[in-house]
Every structure is written in structure tokens, then in C-alpha cells.
Amino acid sequence: MVDPVLASRLQFALTTIVHIVFPVVSMGLAPFLVYFTYKEIRTGEAIYEQLRRFWTRIFAVSFVVGTVTGLVLEFEFGTNFAAFSRTAGELFGGPLALEGMMAFMLEATFLGIFVFGRDRVSDARYMLSAVAVGLGTWLSAVWILIANSWMQTPRGYEMVRRNGHEVVTIVDPSAAYLNPRFPWMFVHMQNAAVESVALIMAGLGAYFVFRHHVWGYPIERIDFWEATLKFGLVALLITAPLQVVHGDLYAQHVYETQPQKFAAMEAVWETDSYVPEYIVAVPTSVDDLLDPRAKDIFGIGIPGGASWLASHGDPQATIRGLESFEGPQPPVAVVFWSFRLMVALGFWFVLLAFWGGYRWWRGQLLEDGLLHKALMASTPLGVLAVELGWVVTEVGRQPWVIQGVMKRDEAVTQDLTGFEATLTLVGFAVVYLGLLSLYLYVVGRIVRAGPPAPADLAATDDADGTPPDAAAESEVATDD
């Protein structure tokens, strides 16, 4: 039997890591879907209808899997982290409730119209539903990140004693909820979601464009995949450089408010000045892989870079080392390498965007096989970068669940048994990995099936092949 604390942590980590994939796809697709719908209604061009219908299928599957996996997360706070829920519920429950009422309701109701209603509702109502779904997905992130940012940099609260427990009570709602961490998290997360979807689009588009234009393979409706590649690339050109810019500002904020996390990100153990920022870091011995220390790492570093990063531009600035903090440290290796890899991926995406943009400008976008291969290989890397970013965020503040307020071991349900925790951990490992495989399988089928036929051909494209008139006749209303 696994210890209940460890099992609960593993379970929450597993369910979050799998769940986050689906909201990233939904949030990232939302602006594209709003745009495609707008253009479809405005111009009536078949390509926009195809883009809207194809990506709506992917959105719908992502939403369904996101809903069922996210439902579990909400209740896991109660089942596995009851002590946390009791202590922080007054502050944490509100944003969660508002997410449901304000965001999820909007998204889920209008999604019904958006997915099933194109032929039933007016253009105006359809457009409204596209906007509502998009707004809903983004508002969800607002409330979740308000809750999460409070756990990172808690303020606006006091501890009081109620029903025999020390609990958090709100004293200053604006300090608590308009938390200074929130804007950084939100901008970084939303941009990352769009960037991830841009990479998925560019990668899928590149696959078909490569087969068609480089290999000379006949691909039906290749214009659809060319458009997909171009939309992905445009979005990547906008989001990739931005991600680096506000990622940098976000890191400064982490240094100011969570110095222990920042030290773990940079593997600075002893307080030091003129700390370099390693863009490429290779450990000089295997030990440094598992216990990295900035001093013992060989790499291409910007001298004074980390100091500069932390201090708004002073390369001589002092960074507080991990050893100056009392108590347990976060697992530095996980945080350090995740951060390195995320940053490296971020720069790779910028390079990829400029490379693609340059080829496009030169009129060689459809012929550059190497670029296509690079884009194909990068299809899942945006989502991977998001995962790594969250690992830095969540693992980096260990051992705290609420920074400086509550430690992780105090947060777990007290009377939880090892048997219960292990049983659900194993169950969820199987179910969630199954869900992820199922999702990839279904998305793969959607992609292989290719873009849907334009509306005027859709009737003969039906699964059963019957023309619409015959189908309508067989459905003559016979009320009982």
C-alpha cells in the first residue's frame, strides 16, 4: 500500500497532468473557432466552413474528455485534500464556484448550439454561441488561475479558529483575488494555449503539405491543409515571441514573491551575485543531473543573466540561495530541468516561427521539406512545454501547498487509508492513461478522415450514403 499522502499527491499530479491537455486544446482553439465562424458567416467561403467544422470536431472531443477528467479534479479537493478544503475553502471555494457558474455554464450550454446547431439556428445566434463558448473557456482559466495564484502568493486573509480548526478567512477580497501573480499566470497560460494549438495546426498542416508538395502524393482538398499550416504559422509568429517576453517578466515576479522557487529554477544553493543564466546546461557529472548546482554545471550561459532576470536588469544582483531557507527544499532537479527544457522549447518555437515566416515570405513555404519535418516533430511540443511550466509552478513551491501557510502533508484527508488511496491511484492511472490514448486515437481518426466536404456536398457524404430527401421521407411524423 502506498502512503496516503504520497498516493494522494501522485493521484492529483496524474489527474492534473492528463487533464490539462484538454483545456489547453480548448482554450487554444477557441479564438481560431471564433475567427473561422466569423469568416464563414461573413464571406461564405467553403474553406472557412471546412476549417470550422474540422476543428469543431477536435474541440468537441477535447471538451468531452476535458469535462470528465476535470470533474474528478474538483471532487479530489474534497476526497484527498479535505484538510486543505476545510482550511482554505472560504477563499478557494468561491473562485471554484464562480468558475462553474460564470464560465463552465456559458461554455457547456452554448457548446451544444455550436456543435449541433449550425443548421438549426440563425447566423447571429450561431456566431453568438461561438463567442460564448470561447469566452467560457477563457473565463474558466481566469477563475482557476485566481484560485491557484492565491496559493502561490497568498494575501488578503487571516487565520481564525472555527469548529475546532484553524481556517483561512478573507479580510481583503481585492488583495486576495486581484493577486499580483494572477495577470502573469493568465497571460502566460492563455498565450501558451494558443501557441500549443498553433503548433498542432502547423504540424498537422505540414504533414499533409509535405506529402503532397514534397513527395508528390495526391491529397484531397490540399488547400485545406495549406490553410491550416498558414493559420498555425501566423498564430505561432504572434504567440512565440510574446511567450518569451512575458515569460521573462513572470520569472522576475517569481523571484520577488517566491525566492525559494526561483532559486530552485536556477539551482542556486549558496546566495551569490552575478549568477549566470544557462541557456544550454549539461551537468559535469551524473550526480549533478539529480542534484544540479548552478556552479557545477557546464553550459552556455549568459553571464549575470539570472541576476539580471531576477532584478529588472542588474547583472550584479544577489540571488538568495536555497540553503538560506529553513526546512525542506523543493526537488531541485525536477524544477531546474523542467524550467530549462520549457525555456529551450520556447526559444525553439520562436526559431521555428521565424524560419517558417521567412520561407513563406520567400514563397517557399510549401516546398521546404526540412521545415515541414521540423513542424511535424514539434506538433506535441507546445503541450509538453505547458506541462513543464506547470511542473515548475507546482513542484517549485513544495513543500508548500499554500506558500508559507500550509504544507502538503497537512493538506491531505486525515482519515484516508492507504488502501483507499492506493486503490483510486491505480484506478486513475489506468483510466486516465486509457483516456489519453483514446483521445489521441480518436483525434487521429478525425485527422485521417480529413476535412469535411463543403456543405453542398455534405448530403452525399453521410455515413449511410442516402441523399437528404430520402432520409427526410423515411422520417414522416407519425404521432401516437
Binding site: 484527498n80 478544503s85 478557494f92 471555494g93 450550454t109 457548446l111 449541433f116 478573507i170 422520417e475
Partner: protein
């Protein structure tokens, strides 16, 4: 925020906010069980239909709605967490495996319709069909078990009152599902469902009586059961059941659907009335002791007062967009 400001000075407009949120909590629970209840009912009935076209119709009937309906469960969780965090922690921590049972059932039946339509082959559809039926029956049963255990203050997962409430809820979602499908279908299917509906209604009423009797005999709630509010709710249930049966006979399908929904609200009302003023009998927490402090409560109240009318508007737009029977070629 200064002391004695509009949000900290006391409850908004002097309202009994603990009671208001207790009421809202059970309203949200009932709305979830009514709306997602008919999805569960449709899922259970899916198991009784062999004809492929009929099965497609059943899936198409709930296609645009079930996502929105299920969000009421998320809002229920959020409401409980925000207003009564101690109860949230106690209930789900105490009923650990049962909560995961509910979630597993919801995962199965939530994925199934989407997956069913992804491939045409028999084996794939047979398995997802089973997941749909199994999840749709297990979810209301486990939810009923959960609510029953909550009401009687049980600390174990399986209790007689809990199991009985679970079975009662399964019968009720079938009544609900039939009523919904009779609005959304035509022809032979609609005619067939009428008889299923009568049987489900009879099963529900018998099950309800047995359940209330068992709770009265085996728990200290017997005295509370004699209260005028419980009597009024039981009377309302009988009236609604009669109305539902009469509406079905006369083929007034919307009235039948509405009265089936009324039955769900009456059932949840009985639970709320029996529970009050306690909210977590197993931990001895009352509504007054479990409620959050004034400031967050006032803020949540303002939020809910603004948002609930909007939510009703969303649902009105959704149900208006897909009113009437399912058309050919619609759905997944």
C-alpha cells in the same frame, strides 16, 4: 475593506444567508438531478432498444444538452465548497470510494455517446453502448446512495437507506428520461415509451414509500418525517405523479415532462427538509456552524444573484434552439 462596510457589516439586507445558501445548494442539486436525470434515463433506456435508428435518435436527443446539464453538478460542488467548505471536506473525504464510483460512472456515460459515433463497427459500438447504459444506471444509483448516506449521517459507504434512495433515484430518472424522450421522438418509439413510463412511475412510487418507511423505522429521522413540510412534499409528489400520469394518457407531452421534473424537486425537497437545520449530521454540523464568514458569503450572494438569471437565460436559448422532436440526420 473597512469594518462595518456594506459587505462586512452583516448579512446582505439582513437576509438569513445560511438558509438561503442551504436552499440554493439543494435547488442546484435538484436541477442537476432533473436535467442530467433525463440524460441518465435516456442512457438507461438505450439498453432497451435494439434498433440502430432508434439508438441514434436517443443519442441525438440528448446530444446538445447533456454537457450543460452536467455542469449543474460542478456548480453543486462549487456551491458546497464555497458556502460550506467544512461539509465539502467531510462529505467527500468520508465517502471517498463512493465519490470515485460516481465519478467513474459519469466518465463512462459522458464519453460513451461521443465515442459511440466515432466508429461504425459493431464491437466498438457494443462496448460503448454498454458503457453508456452502465454509467447511466450506476451514476444515479451512486448519487442516491451518497445523498441517502449524507441524510442519515452514515459513515460507511453502504447503508440500507442509502441503497433505497439509490434505487428510488434510478426509477425516477427513468420516469424523467421517458418524459423527455416522448417530447424528442416520434412514431413507434414514442408510443412504446408510454408503457415504459407507466411502469417506471409505479416503480418510483413504490420505491419512495418503502424508502421513507425504512428511514422512519431505522433512523431517528422518524419524528421529523411527521412534520407538516414533509407531509406537504409527499402530497405534492402524489399530485405531480397523478398529473404526470394524466398528462401521459392525454398525450400532453410537455406537461408530462414538467411534472416529472417536479417529482425530482419534491424528492430533493424531502431530503433538504429532513436534514435541516443540520447539514452534516455525521459531523454534527448545522447550517449556522458550517457557513463561511459574512464577507465571502455576501460576495458569493451578489455573484449568484447576478449569475443565476444569466444561467437560466443560457438554458432558455439552448432548449429553444433544439425544441421539438429530433430531425433525421441530426445529432452526433
Amino acid at each position: 475593506m473597512t469594518e462595518g462596510g456594506p459587505l462586512t457589516g452583516g448579512p446582505l439586507f439582513g437576509l438569513p444567508l445560511a438558509e438561503v445558501w442551504f436552499g440554493l445548494l439543494f435547488f442546484v442539486l435538484a436541477t442537476f438531478l432533473f436535467l442530467d436525470g433525463f440524460d441518465f434515463g435516456v442512457g438507461a433506456l438505450f439498453g432497451t432498444r435494439d434498433d440502430e435508428a432508434e439508438r441514434e435518435t436517443l443519442l441525438a436527443a440528448i446530444g446538445p444538452f447533456w454537457d450543460g446539464n452536467e455542469v449543474w453538478l460542478v456548480v453543486f460542488g462549487g456551491t458546497l465548497f464555497a458556502a460550506f467548505p467544512a461539509v465539502y471536506a467531510n462529505l467527500f473525504g468520508r465517502h471517498y470510494l463512493l465519490t470515485f464510483g460516481i465519478l467513474a460512472a459519469l466518465i463512462a456515460r459522458g464519453l460513451a455517446p461521443e465515442m459511440y459515433e466515432q466508429r461504425e463497427d459493431d464491437r466498438w459500438q457494443r462496448w460503448w453502448g454498454r458503457a453508456f447504459v452502465g454509467g447511466s444506471v450506476a451514476a444515479p444509483f451512486f448519487l442516491g446512495l451518497f445523498v441517502g448516506n449524507w441524510l442519515v449521517g452514515a459513515t460507511t459507504a453502504v447503508t440500507l437507506p442509502g441503497v433505497l434512495v439509490g434505487l428510488t433515484l434510478v426509477a425516477l430518472v427513468v420516469v424523467d428520461g421517458v418524459a423527455f424522450l416522448r417530447v424528442k421522438t416520434r412514431g413507434d418509439l414514442r408510443a412504446d415509451l408510454r408503457a415504459t413510463g407507466y411502469r417506471a412511475l409505479a416503480a418510483y412510487l413504490v420505491s419512495l414509500v418503502v424508502t421513507l418507511a425504512a428511514i422512519a423505522v431505522t433512523t431517528p429521522l422518524g419524528s421529523a418525517m411527521a412534520s407538516p413540510s414533509v407531509a406537504a412534499l409527499v402530497a405534492a409528489t402524489l399530485t405531480l405523479a397523478a398529473l404526470h400520469a394524466a398528462a401521459t394518457v392525454r398525450d400532453r407531452r410537455y406537461l408530462a415532462f414538467g411534472s416529472a421534473g417536479g417529482l425530482v424537486y419534491a424528492l430533493v425537497g424531502v431530503v433538504a427538509v429532513l436534514l435541516y437545520p443540520q447539514i452534516d449530521p455525521a459531523a454534527g454540523l448545522t447550517v449556522e456552524t458550517a457557513i463561511v464568514s459574512t464577507l465571502p458569503l455576501n460576495m458569493m450572494t451578489v455573484g449568484a444573484a447576478l449569475l443565476f438569471p444569466l444561467i437560466f437565460a443560457y438554458f432558455a436559448v439552448l432548449y429553444d434552439s433544439f425544441s421539438g422532436p429530433v430531425e433525421a440526420g441530426e445529432g452526433y
